[in-house]
């Protein structure tokens, strides 16, 4: 009895393991953020468009907002740009940009030529804010609730579909729960 049952159980276990491990929808490089449910790290950086202005998320307390990490060197950011412009048109939440490992002039040019979906763009000169947020690439998009907690992190180019299915329901839920 055991002679047949044991190999069979091992076989089933392997099938389950492979089904989970080889799932094509799973991004093996996407890492869960330890920031989820924790207070969003605060930052006060210069505005990419105007170095004399300060962009800080402290002024956004009480509001649900999106933080999108990008850079002109990032090909996938160019790819998601159209989607961000469309999302910005809906005026659901403020979208704050974090320009990461970039040059100010290039970033300005990018925003003037392609359009600016951001309410404000913070210029992370030395990557310290990115480290605080656990950024390890771009684009990365974070959702922060009204209590100032990070509630979601999306690693990959933003699309209308992702916005519809991953972000909007969470924004509605956060607002309904008063957060």
């Amino acid at each position: 009895m055991w002679k047949f049952l044991l190999p069979f159980a091992a076989f089933v276990a392997l099938v389950v393991l492979f089904a989970l491990g080889l799932n094509p929808n799973r991004d093996i490089h996407a890492l869960p953020s330890p920031l989820i449910g924790k207070p969003a790290p605060e930052f006060a950086l210069t505005d990419v468009m105007d170095a004399s202005k300060v962009v800080s998320n402290a002024t956004l307390k009480g509001q649900v907002y999106v933080l999108n990490v990008w850079g002109t060197w990032c090909v996938a950011c160019r790819q998601e740009h159209e989607a961000l412009l469309e999302i910005a048109q809906q005026h659901v939440v403020p979208i704050i940009g974090l320009d990461y490992m970039d040059e100010r002039d290039k970033a300005k040019q990018w925003l003037t030529q392609l359009g600016n979906p951001y309410n404000a763009v913070a210029f992370d000169t030395d990557g310290r804010t990115a480290i605080d947020w656990g950024v390890y690439g771009a684009p990365e998009t974070y959702l922060v609730d009204g209590k100032g907690r990070v509630i979601f992190k999306f690693i990959s180019p933003m699309t209308a579909d992702v916005w519809q299915h991953e972000f909007l329901p969470r924004i509605t839920a956060a607002r309904r729960s008063g957060a």
Binding site: P34, M101, G127, R128, I131, D132, G134, V135, G137
Partner: protein
């Protein structure tokens, strides 16, 4: 003649502060030698051990000590600054795992959820021992001649 003095005072203080901060900067710079190594050999050794134990999240199989990507160099700077500031190894690892998760460490800590990872080699060893024992016992029962 009091008014000009009153105006000069803040300038003097500002100059003094500027000089002090310049000193502070050279002091921080002094803790690195020409090769960019920490001058204190003890700190440099800790720096090397910590950066070897931290994963570069861009390349994922390289440590931040080996990786050339910008994030790795930013994280090395962070480790260096924390060492100079006198922080413990544990505090530095906590700083990293708070931001990047346990995955940033090559060696996972021994806790309830990592028990399977640490226990797997022993489980495999035990399974092997059981198999060898059973095979040996079955063979010893076999008749010696065919």
């Amino acid at each position: 003649m009091t008014a000009p003095h009153a105006r000069i005072w803040p300038v003097g203080i500002a100059l003094l502060l500027a000089a002090l901060s310049a000193f502070a900067q050279t002091d921080a710079a002094r803790s690195l030698d020409a090769n960019g190594q920490l001058q204190d050999p003890g700190l440099q050794l800790r720096f090397e051990n910590i950066t070897k134990e931290l994963r570069c999240l861009v390349c994922q199989n390289e440590s931040i000590a080996d990786s050339n990507v910008e994030l790795a160099s930013d994280l090395r700077r962070q480790v260096r600054e924390m060492l100079i500031a006198g922080q413990s190894d544990d505090a530095i690892f906590k700083f990293m795992t708070d931001r990047y998760g346990e995955f940033v460490r090559f060696g996972p800590p021994l806790e309830a959820k990592t028990l399977l990872i640490w226990g797997a080699p022993f489980i495999a060893l035990l399974l092997g021992a059981i198999i060898i024992y059973r095979v040996a016992r079955n063979r010893s029962r076999m008749p010696l001649d065919e």
